[in-house]
């Protein structure tokens, strides 16, 4: 990746992180950990030019689709969409509030730029399978991205979807697996060990690319490899740090679903600005 682009994406990622902290503090509830872990991936998706999307025409037919199957991580999606210009940034302050366009989990009918309503874990990947099938049927060359959590992979429906995507040779579908190793009750390996996770996707017939989910070069190379893959879907297993970028949140399951206080917010933003 060129230095200039990398700098730009790093700035985008930082802006998204600051927005995540800010909106969650304002909301008083929500999920910072799994939003922060996916920030670099979302910065790459929305600001590298890889997605064929247009914020002025959120519903354009041939757009690429992004399905955030782990819907509780929506602050990262909302922040990216606001940065991209889908809606005024002032909306971020209304997250989770009554009447807001930003629901506690993504609602495709309320938020411009959201391609699928998600929140009940395990369903988003199946929806992405339907989208990829629909695109193939119409011979549209659009790409479909889904983002699932490693904890979410405990849902059986993920593997039903994985089977179907391979069966229908959906090479227009790429899934990011946010492998941050934590879920609400603790470490994923203790709650329900899904290892070897990458091997599982491989066994289901997917092209599997394992990366450091915070390394923009690796994200770019993985997406390019996924795009070049033919006749099978691609899974990018992104090793990430839950709460990435905010030192006191990193690697702690307590920050899965807890909003920062004003004081914690100040500390977090100071940390992000360091």
């Amino acid at each position: 990746m060129e230095e200039e682009m990398k700098k730009k994406l790093q700035q985008s990622a930082k802006a998204i992180r600051v927005d995540i902290i800010d909106m969650l503090c304002e909301a008083g509830s929500g999920h910072p950990g799994g939003a922060l872990s996916m920030t670099d991936v979302f910065a790459y998706l929305y600001f590298s030019g890889i997605l064929n999307i247009d914020p002025r025409d959120p519903g354009k037919k041939d757009r690429d689709r992004v399905v955030l199957s782990k819907g509780h991580a929506c602050p990262v999606l909302y922040a990216a969409l606001a940065e991209k210009g889908y809606f005024e940034k002032s909306h971020l302050k209304t997250l989770r509030k009554f009447g807001s366009i930003l629901q506690g989990h993504p609602d495709m009918n309320k938020t411009p730029g959201v391609d699928m309503s998600t929140g009940s874990l395990g369903q988003g990947l199946s929806c992405a399978v339907g989208m990829a099938l629909g695109a193939k049927l119409d011979k549209q060359s659009l790409k479909v991205f889904a983002v699932v959590g490693d904890g979410e992979c405990e849902e059986g429906q993920i593997w039903e979807a994985a089977m179907a995507a391979a069966h229908y040779k959906l090479d227009n579908l790429t899934v990011f697996v946010d492998k941050n190793g934590l879920q609400i009750d603790g470490f994923t390996r203790d709650i329900m060990n899904s290892e070897p996770l990458a091997d599982k996707w491989k066994a289901f017939g997917w092209e599997v690319i394992e990366i450091d989910g915070h390394d923009l070069d690796q994200i770019e190379q993985a997406v390019k490899k996924a795009m070049d893959t033919r006749d099978k879907p691609a899974a990018i297993v992104a090793n990430t740090v839950k709460g990435k970028g905010v030192d006191f949140m990193e690697g702690l399951c307590e920050w899965h679903g807890q909003a920062p206080s004003e004081e914690q917010k100040a500390k977090a933003i100071e940390c992000l600005n360091r």
Binding site: K61, R65, V67, D107, M108, N109, D115, M116, S117, T118, G119, S120, G122, Q123, G124, S126, C127, A128, V129, G130, M131, A132, L133, G134, A135, L137, D138, G156, Q157, E160, A161, M163, A164, H167, Y168
Partner: protein
């Protein structure tokens, strides 16, 4: 007495067709007219009859294997791409196995998915309780945005499907395994939110839908022979329901008997009670499965054992009128 306006739309042919068979045939016809239609199934296409569409339009037919949850969410994804997915499986799997997917992937975003469930009710028969959907109407009715339709015969199935195509949003169409007499001629027009009165009388109101309509017609005929004339309403549109027709009839008769191949909790009978309790209080007796699981048996044995055969309806009317 059969109302005059109904006489000319009642079928004169003496034939029996399962509504699932009518579904399969009609779906293949509609697929010709509308290229956006895609059909999804879960390894039951020979039973749901979607295989007719599948062999005609193989590229628009997707078998998802034995994975109903995935099929339902994938249908939602296809709908976001402008397709009109008909997602088919047995009633038990469409409603119970995939309830969360129907609710969150399909209904919440109000996507244009048509869930067409076959093998509903205890009249599925010999397979027994595990395969008899007696909760599906209750589940689907309580999910916002979904329309619930239960056609009585082959003709009404075809008419319902034509209507369903014109509705932009999720629909649940309840179909049956077993053959039922053809009630309507091709002149019949189904209207969303409307019921039709097949018999007219003052003694009582009988409300039926789906597989129970022809049973209730037998009962109405038997009652008529004994000089008891009833209103018989076929309510294929369970949600939205025809409130006016129900209230007008209840006001006239004061006694309403609902007949359904479903648990009496949450189904047609409950829907009728909800309308009448608010608008036209009347005594309602709900015939159907009395909050029990089903059992193996022939459909006729089960209908009799669970108390919604024609003789049970006749008896209930006679015991409860003036």
């Amino acid at each position: 007495m059969i109302p005059d306006n109904i006489k000319n739309i009642l079928s004169t042919e003496d034939k029996k067709i399962a509504t699932r068979a009518a579904y399969g045939k009609k779906l293949a016809e509609l697929g010709e007219e509308n290229e956006d239609i895609v059909v999804l199934d879960c390894d039951l296409s020979k039973s749901t009859k979607t295989n007719i569409f599948g062999s005609k339009f193989p590229h628009r037919f997707f078998n998802f294997g034995i994975a109903e949850s995935n099929m339902m969410s994938a249908a939602a994804g296809l709908a976001t791409m402008g397709k009109i997915p008909f997602a088919s499986t047995f009633g038990v799997f469409a409603s119970k196995r995939a309830a969360d997917q129907v609710s969150i992937s399909v209904a919440y975003p109000r996507l244009n998915v048509k869930i067409c469930a076959t093998h509903t009710g205890i009249t599925v028969g010999e397979d027994g309780a595990t395969h008899q959907a007696i909760e599906d109407v209750a589940i689907m009715r309580s999910i916002p945005n979904i329309k619930v339709l239960s056609p009585a015969d082959a003709t009404e199935t075809e008419k319902v499907l034509e209507q369903v195509l014109n509705i932009d949003g999720p629909c649940y169409v309840r179909l049956c395994r077993g053959s039922a007499p053809v009630i309507f001629s091709d002149e019949y027009q189904f209207e969303l939110g409307k019921g039709v009165k097949l018999f007219e009388g003052d003694a009582a109101t009988i409300v039926a839908a789906g597989f129970t309509t022809h049973i209730a017609m037998d009962a109405a005929r038997k009652l008529e022979q004994e000089g008891i004339e009833v209103d018989l309403i076929n309510m294929a549109s369970i949600k939205p329901i025809d409130q006016q027709l129900l209230m007008d009839s209840a006001r006239k008769t004061g006694l309403v008997i609902t007949v359904e191949d479903h648990n009496v909790i949450g189904g047609l009978g409950s829907a009728v009670c909800e309308v009448l309790s608010q608008g036209q209080p009347a005594r309602v007796i709900r015939l159907g499965v009395q909050d029990k699981f089903g059992a193996s048996g022939t459909p006729q044995e089960l209908i009799e054992a669970y108390g919604f055969d024609a003789d049970s309806i006749v008896k209930t009317v006679k015991e409860n009128i003036g």
